[in-house]
């Protein structure tokens, strides 16, 4: 999903950086105040960040005959919101730009807008819609993760299409071309990612539901309904 260094004209680099910076600044402010207030949230933050790190290093083959990687931003979006997720995403992107030549510093703004901001924003909106309905919380996690992943690639396609409109058909035509490369490759990956993150969420519910309650990710009733089995098993084990 990275736009490689040098593949965006500098004007577009500037535009995406300008959009990305407010998210980054707000994210750092939120992160600082959260850490100052309550250090108990740090392990969960670590888990969310670790998943973004692991998943974005896994380059998986897909139906179209090319490889791509999941993003893993859905989990952290639900637990900590869009701004903090954008900070974690920026750290991962910086690592890959500096050491792996995947993406680059000038295109990092654009990559942040797609992976660390755009995907999480849409995922968060979906989470807000589903949160208080009767939808099972694991289904919510699945949908949010899968959608955040897909949207990342849709935005990447859009960014490239805006910078490189086709001679015939303009932005729409080249959006179609990039979409068929990035987004279609991503469909099976995002489904698997959704399943894996839902499973991880099950383990968080089983081991540390109190953090989820404190962060108000889901209501107590929803968590105890979904985690009822885990509660009973942990009781029998003890």
């Amino acid at each position: 999903m990275h736009i490689m260094e040098g593949f965006l004209p500098w004007q577009w680099c500037l535009v995406w950086w300008i959009i990305a910076i407010p998210f980054l600044v707000l994210g750092v402010i939120q992160l600082r105040s959260m850490i100052k207030k309550d250090r108990d949230n740090l392990p969960l933050l670590g888990v969310c960040g670790a998943f973004i790190f692991i998943l974005s290093a896994l380059k998986l083959p897909s139906v179209t005959g090319s490889c791509s990687h999941p993003t893993g931003t859905g989990l952290s979006t639900m637990c900590f919101g869009v701004f903090i997720t954008s900070v974690i995403g920026a750290i991962v992107l910086l690592f890959q730009a500096l050491f792996l030549a995947h993406g680059g510093l000038s295109t990092m703004g654009a990559n942040m807008v797609s992976m660390a901001i755009g995907g999480p924003v849409v995922g968060y909106a979906l989470y807000k819609i589903l949160k208080d309905t009767s939808v099972n919380i694991y289904v919510t996690v699945f949908l949010v993760s899968a959608v955040a992943d897909m949207v990342t690639y849709i935005i990447t396609s859009l960014e490239l299409a805006l910078a490189y409109p086709a001679a015939v058909g303009g932005v729409a035509a080249s959006f179609g071309a990039f979409f068929s490369i990035f987004a279609v490759t991503q469909i099976p990956l995002s489904i698997v990612e959704g399943c894996v993150l839902a499973l991880v969420f099950k383990y968080i519910v089983a081991l540390k539901p109190e953090i989820l309650l404190k962060l108000n990710v889901f209501s107590e009733e929803q968590i105890s309904r979904a985690g009822a089995q885990e509660y009973s098993t942990s009781k029998t084990e003890a």
Partner: protein
């Protein structure tokens, strides 16, 4: 008993399906399984009529000298994430064993 592991079963099935797709795609036709980044770059050069090599980085950057080095760095990235996951889940499991819910 099985209903306790519904999510695990679904995840394993999804991964198996994913592998099945890979096996069937890779056994027929010619697919390079290169990164979608590279395929995207080729598309850009097709749209602009310039070769991929003519795109110069705006900001000079370090590039891993070979695929081996790149694989090492990716493995390190993964290992770092997995290490943190292992520590935290282990820590939580220890806490939960000491003071179970209810």
């Amino acid at each position: 008993m099985i209903s306790n592991y519904k999510l695990e079963i679904i995840t394993v099935l999804a991964i198996l399906g994913f592998i099945a797709i890979f096996v069937s795609v890779s056994s027929g036709g010619d697919h390079e399984f290169s990164g979608s980044d590279d395929v995207g770059s080729e598309k850009i050069s097709e749209l602009t009529g310039q070769s991929v090599e003519s795109f110069k980085p705006l900001i000079p950057q370090y590039e891993p000298p070979s695929g081996e080095i790149e694989a090492t760095l990716f493995a390190l990235q993964c290992a770092f994430g997995a290490l943190i996951l292992g520590i935290i889940f282990g820590y939580w499991l220890g806490q939960r064993k000491k003071s179970p819910l209810n």
